[in-house]
């Protein structure tokens, strides 16, 4: 019997052979993802498909994260000469097809200070054909994992210090270990790609650009926990992501990475794709389980934790796609290599969804410990039109707003700033004078109120009262006692709510009252 590594080598070399037939041709990559489609990438791709000469071949990739450059085309000549064309129109694509030697200047500063582990190859390799991923050493981590015992795989991940990237930053290895030791069969694995958090769009990027990396990480994690059935749960609106994952799952079955006897190891894993139906709270893991079981979107009491009693009361591991994307790297390169990235306390990288008032918005991946200043200025290119930065909303509606004076705050798993600002799933929105900090806080608070599922009283009653009080203050009819009320409500909601949504819903208020005290004080008459 041949080992998983040998079986994989076979599959990889067949993929390389198929790639070689294109060696004499010019490679034209068009980046098509949910974002670029909204600015015409589909038309660009179809124009290229119709007009490219025989001497070139077309690759449909996901996005490389540079939203501001979409739609984007990368051309590589057979000699290895590369050019990048940004913000292209279908017309331009037609012209380019006629003259593939057209030169272009490209500014790389968006990419220069990034460190890409999960997003490596994103936007460069095909997201609809598995060959590109295989040719770039894809699924090697899986082959290596399958030669080890599940306990050894968990040990490797434990040594790497990998923490979940969904917002809670729980050590991934501990979660897997918990589920593998838990009593009860069958065990389940759930990929949580619900991603319903405003300001965050990284999981879609991963699903649309490197779907196979997520699957590879998922299979490794499932093997480590002893799971034979996995559910890939995708947000209701992310149709393109779902179709790319569906395609990737089919290819994984066809190449022996899923199904029975994976890579000849005897391990078996089946995957089913499920769709959500909207709602921020669905990303909360116990709510997601309720959704899968056909109940209302309401969280469950914890404990028991899903690792002990999750889906249909069986031990269940729930991981975010971003977490899983680090796993193949850890297995292939070893845990030390992963530990070398980031800080002593927090290893690895974090994908940040950068938007708002920045010249270069998009999805960026930086080592843990990078400062907000580096993210906003070095990568994001600073505020739009040199406007004055008035604040930074970090981590979506469940975190908080930092003033420009706190830009040297470093990103870290969990708490970023002692004022209670958390990284969450990694949203960074730069604010300028076009939207006041108070309006921002109100908007975050009203989102939380709208999305509250209503199961527990503190959140159901508290979040709308926060909005009412803010409205009163902003309208100029508030009094000083309203400020105390706000502080009190934020505290109650944080302390007494059932799930993460409510527990974090006070964040924007607490951080706002701390850092923007004078703005709040100006709202009351005396």
């Amino acid at each position: 019997m041949s080992s998983p590594t040998e079986v994989l080598n076979d599959v990889q070399s067949r993929a390389l052979d198929r790639e070689l037939t294109n060696r004499e041709k010019t490679r034209v990559v068009v980046q098509v993802d949910h974002g670029s489609v909204a600015v015409g990438a589909n038309l660009v791709a179809s124009t290229l498909a119709d007009t490219l000469p025989e001497s070139a071949y077309l690759v449909v990739a996901g996005s490389d994260g540079a939203s501001f450059e979409a739609p984007k085309i990368l051309v590589t000549s057979p000699e290895g000469q590369g050019s990048v064309y940004t913000n292209v129109s279908p017309d331009f694509a037609g012209k380019l097809a006629g003259n593939l030697n057209m030169r272009s200047e490209h500014d790389q500063s968006f990419f220069d200070s990034q460190k890409r582990v999960a997003l490596d190859l994103a936007g460069e390799i095909s997201s609809t054909v598995v060959d590109d991923y295989l040719a770039n050493n894809g699924y090697s981590g899986l082959a290596k994992a399958l030669t080890m015992s599940p306990a050894d795989v968990i040990e490797q991940v434990k040594l790497s210090g990998l923490r979940g990237r969904g917002g809670a930053y729980f050590p991934a290895a501990l979660k897997w270990e918990g589920a593998s030791k838990a009593i009860g069969t069958p065990k389940y694995f759930v990929v949580n790609a619900e991603e319903g958090e405003p300001g965050i769009f990284k999981d879609r990027h991963l699903m649309e650009s490197v779907p196979h990396r997520i699957l590879e990480g998922m299979i490794i994690a499932a093997y480590a926990t002893g799971v034979e059935r996995a559910y890939f749960y995708i947000n209701a609106e992310a149709n393109l992501s779902a179709s790319r994952i569906r395609l990737a799952v089919d290819q994984a079955y066809a190449n022996g990475f899923l199904g029975r006897n994976i890579l000849g190891s005897g391990y078996e894993l089946e995957v089913e794709i499920c769709r959500g139906a909207g709602g921020y709270v669905c990303g909360e893991e116990t709510t997601l389980l309720n959704t899968l079981e056909g109940y209302r979107r309401e969280p469950r009491l914890r404990p028991p934790f899903p690792t002990e009693a999750g889906l249909w009361s069986k031990p269940t591991v729930i991981n975010n796609p971003e977490t899983l994307c680090s796993v193949p790297f850890i297995l292939t390169n070893g845990p030390d290599e992963f530990r070398n990235i980031g800080t002593d306390q927090a290893s690895g990288t974090k994908i940040v969804s950068l938007s708002g008032s920045v010249g270069r918005p998009g999805v960026v991946e930086v080592p843990m410990g990078t400062t907000l200043r580096d993210i906003i200025y070095d990568i994001g290119g600073g505020t739009v039109n040199g406007r004055e930065l008035t604040g930074v909303a970090v981590g979506g509606p469940s975190s908080g707003v930092l003033p420009p004076s706190e830009l040297s705050t470093r990103i870290a798993p969990g708490l970023l700033h002692e004022a209670g600002v958390m990284l969450g799933a990694g949203g960074v929105i730069a604010l300028d004078e076009r939207l006041s900090v108070l309006e921002t806080i109100r908007s975050l608070a009203s989102y939380n109120a709208q999305e509250s599922c209503g199961k527990c009283t503190p959140c159901r009653e508290g979040t709308p009262r926060i909005v009412d009080t803010l409205d009163r203050l902003i309208a100029g009819t508030g009094s000083r006692s309203d400020l105390d009320e706000l502080r009190y409500l934020a505290d109650v909601v944080k302390t007494a709510s059932l799930c993460g949504l409510g527990q974090a819903a006070g964040g924007p208020i607490t951080s706002g009252l701390k850092f923007f005290e004078s703005e709040f004080n100006n709202l009351v008459p005396y």
Binding site: S67, P198, P361, I429, E451
Partner: protein
Amino acid sequence: MVISDRNTLRAELRKEFPRDRGQLLPALHFLQHEFGYLPDWGMEVVSWHLGIPASEVYGAATSYTELRIRRPGEHVLRVCRGISCTLNGADELYDSASGYLFSNSTEADGTECVTLEEVGCAYMCGLAPVIEWDHQLIGRATVASIDQLLPEVSDR
């Protein structure tokens, strides 16, 4: 095939969905895909088929933001009101659309031609402001993009 009565719907559900509680959301998605929303009678059929009380089907249907229990207009225009979109002018887009629809859109029978909605986030913050027209997202939207879309459908 057009599903118009309970029996055909029930036959379709029987074909597509095993009788298992976990099939509730897939079945509701199917219903919404067929009709554009979840008609009361359709939810009742789902409840029979899956053996879940109709009240619980309704409870679930109304708890998810992407499921509709009211028939939307022929077209649905959504404007993202996330922070990045608001920062980049979403208010202006919304006002322009609602202003236009206020003076132009109601049809003689009282149904809306265009349903205007706000969304908390369209998850494309890098391309703000974002609007969505009949499930097609449009990034870097301007008032001009709305002016282009609306007259085509409402000047009839």
